[in-house]
Every structure is written in structure tokens, then in C-alpha cells.
């Protein structure tokens, strides 16, 4: 059944998991920083900033990640900025993730009762202090399940970076398949690896959601 598939191929695949994880981490960390900024802009008291954030979210959510990858990788290289594929994928995913996380977190912050704002501001705390010390710490708890849930999406979406030549799990599978042509085995294995990464996170997200619902009941 394993035919020409050897332990060398298996090591190669397992090694590629590291690159998938690295790109996921990069996308998540950079996306979280961007998402934080988008969230702040989205709830700002300045109308123009709010509109800018809305426009950004709507635009990015309406464009496939694949196209963002092409724009950053091929688009910029035409102007002489040829980026390593990891950097290009990191930037494209940061843009993509920030629009989603910004929107998720905006929802969590706005789900905090208005009375918490009032109570804090009536203690002479500024808007920024209120946000930082009262609202965000409480919204954080609420945001964990959807954030982890989105993390799962991010891990799976890193497979798209294979098309700009970044050798992560999917691309590694393609490379092996090109040499020994056993697609069912190889891509089955690749799928299994993705599942092993994502399933624990999904369960964790679900468990947190259950806990949260109990606490709110």
C-alpha cells in the first residue's frame, strides 16, 4: 500500500508542519495586532475613523485570501519589491486576519453593557482607561471562543500559501506527490495532519463556549 512512500517522505511532511505552524503563528500574531487597531478604529468616537474601519473590514472580507496573496507576492514584485514567500504570505494573511479579528472583537466590546461604561466614567475614569481597565478585560473572556474558532480557519487557510511557492504542509505534499504519485495516500496524510492541528483547538473553543454559557445563565 505504501509503495514508494518511505520514512524520508514522512519526515519531509512532518517537517513541513513546522512551517505551517510558523505561518499560522505569524498570521495570528500580526493579525491580532492589526485586528486590535481595527477594533479600536471601529469603536472610535471619530466618525471618519469608524467609517475607514468599516470600509477596510468590508473590502477585505469581500476579497478571497488567494487574491490577497497574489497581490502581495506578484503585485509587489512587479515594482521591484520581491518578497520571500513567507514574508508575502505573512503580510497577506495579516491583512486578511486583521479584518476578521477586528470585527469579532468589535462585537465583543460592544456586547459589554452600557452601564459598565457609565459606572466607570462616573468614577472619573477616561474613555481610554475605561476601555483598557474595565471593558476589554471583560470582553476578552467573551472573545476567546470565536477567536480560537477563527484560529482553526487560519491554520487551514495557510495551505493557500502553497500557490506562491511557500513550502508548508500542502506544498510539501504536492512535491512528494510529483515524484512518487500516490495522491490518495499523501493528501490523505496531509489532511490527517491538518485535522490533528485543528481538532484540539475546535474542542477547546467549544469547551470554553459551554463554560461561558453556563456562567451567563
Amino acid at each position: 500500500m505504501f509503495g514508494n512512500f518511505t520514512s524520508v517522505h514522512l519526515y519531509y511532511l512532518v517537517g513541513a508542519i513546522g512551517w505551517t505552524l510558523l505561518l499560522s503563528a505569524l498570521a495570528f500574531v500580526l493579525g491580532a495586532i492589526g485586528g486590535g487597531a481595527v477594533m479600536l478604529a471601529r469603536i472610535s468616537e471619530r466618525t471618519w475613523l469608524r467609517w475607514l474601519a468599516v470600509a477596510y473590514i468590508e473590502c477585505i472580507q469581500g476579497i478571497p485570501l488567494l487574491i490577497l496573496l497574489f497581490v502581495v507576492y506578484y503585485g509587489l514584485s512587479v515594482y521591484g519589491y520581491s518578497l520571500p514567500s513567507l514574508v508575502a504570505a505573512g503580510i497577506a494573511m495579516m491583512i486578511y486576519v486583521s479584518a476578521y479579528l477586528g470585527d469579532i472583537w468589535r462585537g465583543c466590546v460592544q456586547a459589554m453593557p452600557r452601564q459598565q461604561w457609565e459606572a466607570s466614567e462616573c468614577l472619573a475614569m477616561s474613555r481610554w482607561q475605561t476601555l483598557r481597565l474595565v471593558i476589554i478585560p471583560q470582553a476578552l473572556r467573551l472573545s476567546l471562543p470565536p477567536t480560537v474558532g477563527f484560529m482553526v480557519q487560519v491554520i487551514k487557510m495557510t495551505s493557500l500559501a502553497s500557490v506562491i511557492g511557500f513550502i508548508e504542509l500542502t506544498r510539501a505534499g504536492q512535491i512528494i506527490n510529483n515524484s512518487i504519485f500516490q495522491p490518495f495516500l499523501i493528501f490523505g496524510l496531509v489532511g490527517l495532519f491538518y485535522f490533528a492541528l485543528c481538532y484540539p483547538l475546535s474542542r477547546w473553543s467549544e469547551a470554553m463556549e459551554r463554560k461561558l454559557n453556563v456562567a451567563n445563565r
Binding site: 459598565q116 459606572a119 466614567e121
Partner: protein, 242 residues
Amino acid sequence: MSPIVSVKNVYKSFGPNQVLKGISFEVAKGEMIAIIGASGSGKSTALRCIDRLEKIDQGSIEVAGIRVDDPGVDLHRLRQEVGIVFQAYNLFLHLTVAENIMLALRHVKKQSRTEARQLALQVLEQVGLRQKADAYPEQLSGGQQQRVAIARSLAMSPKVMLFDEVTSALDPQLTGEVLRVMEDLAAGGMTMLLVTHEMAFAKRLANRIIYMHEGRVWETGPGSMLETPQTPELRVFLDNGL
């Protein structure tokens, strides 16, 4: 002596709904004033306007020398002079009782952690909850949460304290423990303005009672006015309530 709170001819609408139709009253230092009236009479709105949780349309409000109706009012200063306690307690659920009180002391009054903790314990002692300093709000009864909310406000040493139906969500026994705390505060000379449905409490302790009806100050007088209402509206209100 000049009043510490002065409300003059204040109008306030929410959309087409005019809630305050030219109300005026004053509160002197050390006084306890109770505002009573049916729901929808504008009493909570009046209170919220004093702390500028609502902006007024017309008239003027002055608190401790600060013009509250001024568009550029220094909210940071105003809210150090005025404390407010809400019906729903509004404690910060992610912080312990002591941390709830320490938060503004540390970040607004810039006190050290030790200083703030000491003051927090002191005000908790005052409301009889020192032993709950490290509990979370969810572990307390409604009455205890409300006493913490009072302590939190008190710790900022405001010149005036506003109470917006602070016992309306509590059963009679818990109401009693909150009212006792308020009675102690009044005895200590705190200037207090409360919106309340506790007629007996208002009658016994308030220096003056303001009866509001349909957005106006309808009748005002000492506690005894509840026994001899001058207007038919107050008579009906008292009959329905008792």
C-alpha cells in the same frame, strides 16, 4: 450658604418625548433630598443630568461651582465631585470587591496600591463588608453588591452623592441593610440626592422631598408633606403606592 447643587429651569427631551419640562431645585451642603414620583415622571433623568450622563436641552445646572451644562465642562473634575450609585449596582465583575474600589483610586487619584487598598478597606468597614474585600461581586447578595457600589463611590470622597433607585432591585430585608448604610452617610454630613420609592425612609430622613409629576417639580416640602399632600396628583400617587 450657597447651594452645592443648583438646577434651574431644565428641559430635556428624548426625541419627541419631553421628559423634563422646566425643573428647578437646589440642594444645600449636608442636605438629604429625596425625589419621588411615578415611573416616567423624569426623576431618574433629572439625577442623570446632574452627573451629565444626559445633556440638557435648556436651563442650567451647577454642581460644586462647576457649570454642568457648559459644552466644554471638565467631566474629569465634575465626576470627582459627584458620586453616583445605580439601581443595577454596576460593579466590575472581573475584579474583586477591593479591586473595584481601588481601580479609580489608583488610576484617577494616582494612589499607590498600598494606599488605595487601605482606603478601600476603610470604606468597606464603613458599609460593613470588610471581610468581603477579596470576594468577587458574583459571590455577594444584591444588598452586599449595592453596599460595595456605595463604598466604591464614597472612596472617591465626592462632595455630593446621587442615588438612583438603589434599592428597587432588592427584597425588603436587603433593602434595609442598604438604607442603613445611607442613613449612616447622611448622619456623617454627606450631601445626598436620592431618587427612591422608599417613602418611609424618605419621610424619616430627608430634609426635603421633591415630588415630580410629568416632568415637573409638582410639590416640594419637608417629610411631613407626605401626610398632608397639597395636590391631588401626590395624593393619588401616595394612595397607589401605600
